[in-house]
Amino acid sequence: MNAQQQLPKAYTGYNPLAEAMRQGTRLMNAYAAWLDLSEKDIEIATLEKKEVMRMGHISLYRYTPLVEKKHDTPVLVVYSQIGRFTMLDLQPDRSLLRNLLNEGYEVYLIDWGHPGRAERWMTFEDYVEDCIGSSVDFMCDACDVDKISLLGICEGGVFSTCYAALHPERIKALALTVTPIDFHADLDAPAEDMQGQISRWVQKMSEEDIDAYGHLPGEITGLFFLAMTPIKSLTKYNWDLPNALSGKREDVINFFRMEKWLADRPDHPGEAGRQWLMNLYQRNELVKGEFMIGENRVDLTRLSMPVLNVMALQDHIVPPPTSRPLRNFVPEENYEELEFDVGHIGTFVSKRACRALSDKLADFLAD
């Protein structure tokens, strides 16, 4: 009973010619749809916005309202430096930002841009105190309020948590999505659950690895993510392609929009990367109350505002066990959790999850 003997018996119904025709037809249809596309069709992040403040290569945007303002407290969206905020407005029917605007919120967003070698020494202190701090000051002045609401995503959630813990008097509500708090909580998760891989890999890294580059190259971060689904990443652009495209125009457009976002992966400034990997992933300082922003220690028990913690159950980049420990630091009456049965990105690009998340946020952030 070996492999060669089993194959013919198993696939007696297989007709290679018919199979090739079927897949070929799909690819031809997809190709025809692709030929018909223009750059405009696959544009992402199309919502109108205005740059209201600039901090070096970093911009603060204010989104143009779509309906009459219904809430006094503006919302600041803080995305991760790993990846681009454009995913929050991937297309009109899957746009968290559009949904918030339609609910009458005044929405601001920090675009971390594409840091270069000159930003090598940019630290968490710069992200939190300078960039978020200046943005909060600007928004409070512009909207004539004392407090704003923060919506942090992934690493942006960590920036937001740090800011909110250091300046609780300036934050009305804190919403976190797929944000790691206890970076070691998934270290012992079984490999088949696809959790804890990043933690285990990062434990083997050294500071010299970051020094050699001066930053965390976006391509390498992307490779890490691809390696988390090793075989699926290998088959994505060949075997799985006919199914992904399926020949329908809308599917082809969605595919290219997603690819466009995936290809836009900025480098991460070296010093902040060192804090992210060494202080947080290796030494787990945030949950231990040892993480420092400049000269100030981040004490999570100072999160006195209402907190919404959103997790994705299929997330293998920030698994729920790493987010959940936040509940240990926030008073029960101020803390809410929300879970979606999707992956890390699915929280924002799955039509259903995006809608549900938007509705919950609209409720949670309401004055």
Partner: protein
């Protein structure tokens, strides 16, 4: 045979470098003889050539190490994938029937199986150690590369990466310092406002300065 060949190559390379240095010395002496006053500031240094050759040798070593680690990393996967295929066929053979749905779903099943197994493999200590060695080899190669580019830039009187990094660090340190001073001024102003409100006194222009000085 290989050692002999390497020695010959090394001798040849050093002989050439020596020739370049001799020519440079000769050229420098000619400039000195013709009365070029700036020539004295630019004497040829034997260390310059040897420094570069040392860096090139380090780069060669790092490249060899990197190649070896890449091979070992790849060699780690090849037998593992073969074993995976064998165990998959053995496992599936007991459940296979003649009415297997179609070729596509069979291949998908194999990919799913391989993906899960590969994840197990990627979390094994052997794999983590191999990828750590590969990462270290890449870092060492990049560092050697940067040392050479820094060396060449400094020879051309251009700022090196290390100098630019140092400059960048100074700028960020200054930014932090400015921010701390701003915070300090803000808190002093707040204090001043509070004490003024408490005492209901007219503001004085000197009191803030006094507090800042203290």
């Amino acid at each position: 045979m290989t050692n002999e060949f390497n020695t010959d190559e090394w001798m040849d390379a050093n002989h050439r470098l020596l020739q370049v240095w001799t020519q440079q010395t000769q050229h420098w002496m000619e400039q000195m003889m013709t009365g070029d006053p700036t020539a004295i500031e630019r004497p040829p240094l034997f260390e310059d050539l040897m420094g570069l050759s040392g860096k090139l040798i380090s780069l060669g070593d790092a490249f060899a190490e990197l190649t070896r680690e890449i091979w070992q990393y790849q060699a780690f996967f090849t037998p593992a994938v073969y074993q995976m295929w064998q165990s998959y066929m053995l496992e599936k053979s007991s459940t296979m029937t003649n009415d297997q749905p179609n070729f596509e779903s069979a291949v998908n099943n194999w990919f799913d199986y391989a993906n899960t197994e590969m994840l197990q493999l990627q979390n094994s200590e052997e794999y983590l150690a191999a990828s750590q060695r590969l990462g270290q080899a890449i870092s060492r190669f990049k560092t050697c590369q940067r040392k050479i580019s820094d060396y060449l830039l400094s020879r051309m009187d251009m700022p090196t990466q290390a100098e630019m990094d140092s400059l960048g660090r100074t700028i960020f340190d200054l930014k932090h310092e400015v921010r701390r001073l701003k915070d300090e001024i803000r808190s002093l102003k707040d204090k001043e406002m509070k004490s003024r409100a408490a005492n209901d006194e007219p503001p004085t222009s000197t009191s803030l300065k006094e507090q800042q000085a203290s």
